[in-house]
Symmetry: C2
Subunit: 112 residues, 2 copies
């Protein structure tokens, strides 16, 4: 992640909105795994970019951007990612929701 706000091409492309609520006992192991998964995702075919934010209320939102649905499906099945998903359910997340969406329009503001 060179930039906090993702650089993405002209739509259409795909977004995966991953909203998660930590367990109270999410630990350093989580931080390491999360960083590793961001790094691994960036190496996958069709990956475009990612944005992530987590506040003090244990809620996090990570949005990853992809060229197409097939890239998203392939990433979901990468072995190390499957392992991370399992550990997430066992240890780190109280709850999460994944939404797969086709970005149809985008606009922005840059006052910097």
């Amino acid at each position: 992640m060179d930039e906090l706000i993702a650089s993405t091409p002209e739509p259409p492309y795909y977004a995966v909105v991953f909203t998660s609520l930590y367990s109270n006992d999410a630990d350093e192991g989580y931080q390491q795994m999360a960083a590793k998964m961001l790094e691994l995702a960036a190496q996958q075919p069709g990956y475009l970019s990612v944005e992530t934010a987590r506040g003090d209320d244990r809620l996090g939102i990570t949005v990853s951007y992809w060229q197409d649905l097939d890239s998203i499906k392939a990433w979901k099945q990468v072995t190390a990612h499957l392992d991370a998903q399992r550990r997430g359910r066992e240890s780190w997340y109280e709850r999460y929701e994944v939404r797969i969406a086709k970005v149809e329009a985008a606009y922005g503001f840059d006052g910097s």
Copy 2:
């Protein structure tokens, strides 16, 4: 926002991913305006739900969910919201990106 993770219907529905980078001088006025806009959005036709997270790095992600594109377009033009957008560009945001996306699939985990 009764829940941190949004309850949404079966897809399809729409998501607006609003990713923003605070200016260094974002202040209390911002918090008040943001809370007011979340409240006002929830009163709009076609509104479904919202999720929001902001970390220590000045990056925030707010995802609002809507029944259809027309609801999103109408909300963008609500007078008080137009005023908030203008103040956001003038005072609070260094940069932001808005992505409008059709949610095609969703799944979750609830271990609570």
